[in-house]
Symmetry: C2
Subunit: 167 residues, 2 copies
């Protein structure tokens, strides 16, 4: 009985975190559906990142989650380099908007698939960027915490991307 | 034994959610410390809300949490009206920046105090905006979920407020 109760609590908690993640992904998809390619290429504010850069950035940060969650390698490490390790004005050649949208969808589809088949207890294990000795003292730094953190990161940039929509 | 294990799991979930909430509050405080009153009064982007309005808005949304979490009434319903029910250009008279900062700190201090003494199981009970019959079907719509949701809301506007910092 003890295991059953605990697993149910954990499943509920996983659902809370994942449903918030999915809600922000779907807000991003709604926003993308509203914007033309030309609008997406605008700076989100004067002198700030364009929508295209933020799309590449968010897709690449999503791609980085495979590693943190122990789910495999990045789908496209080269795009990660362009949109996370380097700023917009790096002068490096970037993929087209169509390619970035495809990448964004591919990352999210594959993440959703792998996330939804992750065993319950796996979520409460150490994420790969925390050392074992630190995790022993701070067990809240688990894989599920990565999703909470990345959901906030997505919300942060969604607030900026919203400025591309004409008032 | 079953109860002890479950309570420990629940305490861990609560810590995960609250530590992310506190992290965003402290990012907001760091941002406020960096900005002069004149900078805070600027629009975050051309034709968009000023930092002052977003400060009032975030403080008021925090104030609204007392009700959702069943922790009491709003500290200042009039400010909520000005910064949530009404847009920036409402023409209504607004408090000074000093008053808004004081309100922001008071809301967060009082919230932290009440939140930290909330019993573990209380977090997994229905938040007051969900009907009992809906909660029976969707138990993830609990009080802790309100904090996850409000953390994302804070992150969203933090992304916009960050544009007030000169590059």
């Amino acid at each position: 009985m003890s295991t059953i109760t605990t697993t149910a609590d954990k499943e509920l908690f996983i659902k809370m975190v994942l449903s918030n993640w999915e809600m922000q992904i779907s807000r991003m998809n709604n926003l993308l559906a509203k914007l033309s390619d030309a609008e997406l290429a605008h700076p989100t504010a004067s002198g700030r990142n364009t929508g295209v850069y933020l799309l590449g950035h968010l897709a690449a940060i999503g791609d980085g989650m495979f590693i943190f969650l122990g789910l495999g390698e990045k789908l496209n490490p080269a795009i990660y380099e362009l949109f996370v390790s380097n700023p917009e004005n790096s002068g490096l050649e970037k993929p087209s908007i169509a390619e970035l949208k495809e990448y964004w969808n591919k990352v999210n589809d594959e993440l959703a698939q792998k996330i939804n088949s992750m065993p319950v207890d796996e979520w409460f294990s150490r994420h790969t960027a925390v050392k074992e000795e630190d995790f022993a003292k701070e067990p809240h730094r688990n894989k599920l915490n990565i999703v909470i953190n990345r959901t906030n990161h997505l919300s942060y940039h969604l607030g900026q991307l919203a400025y591309l929509v004409s008032k």
